[in-house]
């Protein structure tokens, strides 16, 4: 029994370890370029996303919402989203409405209370999962192209892809700074319960403290980056439409994209049909 308990504790510790979180973030950002979702044309995905981000809010039909929910659940699985994101999603939904739903169940609430809560939870989940599919499942470059196509300012799509470029550097630098604190600092003893709480507070504090040196180091670095961007014609391109046209000219809608759209439409029509029949 105690053995099992230890492994469970170790598992949790491993899950929240800096290395694992880093690995998960990196996997989420860079590790899913060959999934079916990543291969779909960004413009198609954007329109698809707009539908699932808006429509569920205006529909109250449980069957239709369930249908939509299962569809985005399916696409999320297809996008091979990492456990960390799923965990955050679950935490998010639960903290929004899920806990109310569960409480109502436990205390024997009747249909009149459960149905509206179920609808709300379904709406939140559908919209969140659709966002996860698109933003986490898409290749960063495709995401930038999609935003560009929707006429978001060039700076925004550049910022997104630059974030992808700089993220690994920032994470490893952050980790090193944090390790400096851990080596040179002195953590409170964690033998007693009070000590354990102090220990957790200490860990959170050094995580927050580590951001300050990180920001300063980043600021120092940015000088070269700004000069390099200037030479690479970043300013020039923001005043000139050619670059954008060139970039978007690589986009092509293929059979896969049509299949994806047809399947989504068909699925929604069927659920709609079922819901009118019942």
């Amino acid at each position: 029994m105690s053995d099992e308990k230890k492994t469970a504790k170790e598992n949790i510790l491993e899950f929240i370890s800096m290395d694992n979180i880093k690995n998960q973030v990196m996997k989420n950002a860079y590790g899913n370029t060959d999934t079916p979702i990543a291969k779909i044309d960004p413009r198609v995905l954007m329109v698809w996303y707009l539908f699932f981000a808006i429509v569920p809010w205006f529909v109250n039909d449980v069957i239709f919402l369930l249908g939509a929910f299962f569809l985005v659940l399916f696409t999320t699985i297809q996008a091979k989203v990492t456990t960390l994101v799923i965990f955050l999603f679950a935490l998010g939904v639960f903290s929004q409405t899920g806990w109310l739903l569960i409480l109502t169940f436990v205390f024997g609430g009747d249909g009149s209370a459960i149905i509206p809560l179920l609808i709300l939870t379904l709406k939140v989940s559908t919209v969140s999962l659709a966002s996860i599919t698109v933003f986490s499942g898409m290749d960063p470059d495709n995401l930038a192209k999609g935003l560009m196509w929707m006429n978001f300012p060039g700076r925004m799509s550049f910022s997104i892809s630059y974030a992808y470029r700089i993220l690994p550097t920032l994470i490893s630098e952050f980790q090193n700074i944090l390790l400096s604190y851990r080596m040179r600092g002195l953590a409170p003893k964690s033998d007693t319960f009070k000590g354990k709480i102090k220990y957790v507070i200490y860990q959170i504090r050094i995580i927050m403290d580590s951001f300050y040196p990180l920001l300063l180091n980043t600021a120092k670095r940015s000088r070269t980056t700004v000069e390099a961007l200037e030479m690479k014609g970043y300013t020039y391109a923001s005043a000139d439409d050619n670059a954008k046209k060139l970039k978007l000219s690589t986009l092509k809608i293929g059979a896969n994209d049509l299949l994806f759209v047809t399947f989504s439409l068909l699925w929604l029509s069927i659920t709609n049909l079922i819901s009118t029949l019942i």
Binding site: D19, N23, M26, K27, Y30, G31, P140, D141, S161, Y162, Y164, R165, P168, T169, E173, N176, I177, L179, S180, Y181, R182, M183, R184, G185, L186, A187, D209, S210, P213, L216, N217, K220, R221, S222, T224, T225, E227, A228, L229, E230, M231, K232, G233, Y234, Y236, A237, D240, N242, A243, L246, K247
Partner: protein, 562 residues
């Protein structure tokens, strides 16, 4: 490319950084600009790529002509198509997540329809075409530099300027960079300008050398002639190749006739051909018989990649380190040196096996407990500055531990590492050498019994390097056991008592300096390059093991009979 009477002053500075510079670079040149820190080398190069005066404010006088056009009449973009620039901190020049994406980014921005082909062509020129779909952070340091070069090349400029291209690389990777530059120069007819400290590379690759001092050009000569001016160069903290310095000393002593100094191994051999090897007795190092202070037992260590594959760094590694040893840990980039150091301070945990420090397994100890026994100084000192001033950084670990008399200890450390004038400054704003000194002070603040140093001499100019070397020698006296991970062979030869060679996660060789360097098989396999003087001695006599110029001149004597 021409500069006519160019002067430049940064807004906050009193003096001009560049004073009346006149210079012309001809098409096809491979020029090295040398000079000590603050002599204006980088500023001059930034004037040539149009960043000065366009993007960097200051008072600019004179004229810069590129390809017959005054640079003032060109936009930064137009200049970028004529002059490519690779920064010293080149990794900050990479702005896109994927390799090909970054290489073609400039072409895309300037609206060139064939931007992808241009990017691919540039990648081919630097031999990076097989990496085009990779993420930029998956590249090694050398490859990242080549990518920055490809980004500049994609606009097919005729001139390339590189600021200290090999400062952070091991010799094998440095060779790759220079071979590529040579090909760009000869096959693709690019004009190349490098800022470089390493005179051995200058002797091998450049045809001209420009020496700068205090914002002025002291002289501008052909390489062979330039490297003869040993005194001028040393005055500016530039050290001519070891063969050149050895020959100069021999001439001054009268062992050699005055004449042209050799600048490479071949010429050195010709000059010293008639010297014979009469080794002098040196104090032999005794094998350290102390008890073990660190024992690494069957350690296996692996990182998880983002594709959930295990990237094995060590499998079944065993190593025993005795109290009081001064060890150099060598091996090419990626051989596991840094990981080993991080494992010893408990920052990364081995998957299997155990590490025993002073008879205690580090599994049972917290990082902050371990810190009193063993301390690590990072390769990048910036990541050690967590407070707002050097003195707070140094005293941080003693203060949180309530160590008595920490004020006094702080004063000692500040004196020992000559940081008195800098004590109130923020560590991040110091120069490279100052940062390194401060990081050593931070690392020794708790008087650890074991000190680990990761590449303490990388990225430093020769003068600062000497300073750091001196500190490292002093550290021997007050820190019992020291391990340095490095690919600076001069440091290894002059400092270490025991040398451990890591190769692909295994101990490839382990022993005294002579045991390692006499084993040419290991040197070849791992890619270790001993100092030039060592090669010179070997070429004169196969048995010779000589590491410094002074030893060389003692062990080799003029043989009048031959």
């Amino acid at each position: 490319m021409k500069a006519i009477n160019v002067s430049f002053k940064y807004p906050a500075c009193q003096d001009n950084v560049l004073k009346n510079i006149n210079l012309s670079v001809k098409p096809g040149d491979f020029v090295a600009i040398v000079g000590n820190n603050g002599s204006g080398k980088s500023t001059l190069c930034k004037a040539f790529n149009g960043l000065i005066p366009k993007s960097i404010a200051g008072r600019f006088e004179g004229q810069i002509i590129i390809d017959g056009q005054d640079i003032v009449d060109l936009t930064v973009g137009q200049v970028a198509k004529k002059v490519g620039y690779v920064y010293q901190d080149f990794e900050n020049q990479i702005v896109r997540p994927k390799v090909l994406d970054d290489a073609s980014y400039a072409c895309l921005n300037y609206g060139m329809v064939d931007y992808l082909e241009r990017g691919e062509k540039a990648l081919k020129q630097v031999k990076l075409d097989d990496k085009k779909d990779e993420n930029v952070w998956e590249l090694s340091g050398g490859q990242t530099h080549l990518l920055a070069l490809a980004g500049a090349l994609s606009l097919s400029p005729d001139i390339l300027i590189l600021d200290e291209p090999i400062a952070q690389l091991d010799p094998l990777r440095a060779d790759i960079i220079y071979e590529i530059l040579k090909e760009l120069n000869q096959k693709y007819k690019k004009t190349i300008v490098v800022i470089e400290h390493s005179t051995e590379y200058i002797a091998q690759y450049c045809n001209r050398v420009i020496l700068m001092k205090d914002g002025q050009i002291l002289w501008d000569e052909e390489t062979k002639k330039a490297l003869q001016m040993v005194d001028d160069l040393i005055d500016s903290d530039i050290f001519p190749p070891q063969v050149t310095r050895a020959a100069k000393k021999a001439m001054d002593k009268g062992d050699l006739k005055q004449g042209l100094l050799p600048i490479n191994l071949h010429e050195g051999y010709e000059m010293f051909r008639f010297f014979s090897y009469k080794p002098k007795k040196r104090k032999l190092l005794k094998k350290n018989e102390n008890e073990s202070i660190i024992a690494i037992k069957n350690v296996t260590m692996a990182y998880k990649t983002i594709h959930d594959e295990a990237n094995v760094i060590f499998s079944d590694l065993n190593l025993d380190i005795k109290r009081g040893e001064k060890i150099a840990l060598i091996g090419s980039n990626g051989s596991g040196k840094s990981t080993l150091l991080k494992m010893l301070v408990g920052l990364v945990k081995p998957l299997k096996g155990d590490i025993i420090i002073e008879d205690k397994s580090i599994k049972d100890m917290k990082i902050d407990q371990l810190a009193r026994t063993i301390s690590l100084v990072y390769q990048n000192p910036e990541q050690m500055f967590i407070m707002d001033s050097i003195e707070n950084d140094i005293s941080f670990s003693s203060r949180v531990r309530n160590i008595e008399g920490w004020e006094e200890k702080l004063e000692n450390l500040i004196k020992r590492f000559s940081l008195t004038d800098l004590r109130k400054r923020d560590g991040r704003l110091l120069s490279g050498g100052q940062m390194r000194r401060a990081s050593l002070a931070i690392g020794t603040a708790l008087d650890p019994k074991i000190l680990l140093l990761d590449e303490p001499t990388s990225n430093l100019d020769i003068k600062t390097r000497k300073e750091v070397m001196k500190l490292l020698t002093e550290i021997k006296d007050y820190t019992e056991t020291v391990i340095i991970a490095t690919h600076d062979m001069q440091l290894v030869c002059e400092w270490a008592e025991r040398v451990i060679v890591l190769h692909q996660g295994q101990v490839e060789a382990d022993g005294f300096r002579d045991e390692i360097f006499a084993n040419s098989e290991v040197l070849e396999k791992v890619g270790i390059r001993p100092p030039q003087i060592f090669h010179l001695a070997k070429s004169l006599n196969k048995e010779a093991l000589v590491y410094t110029i002074d030893d060389f001149l003692k062990d080799f004597e003029v043989d009048y009979e031959r």
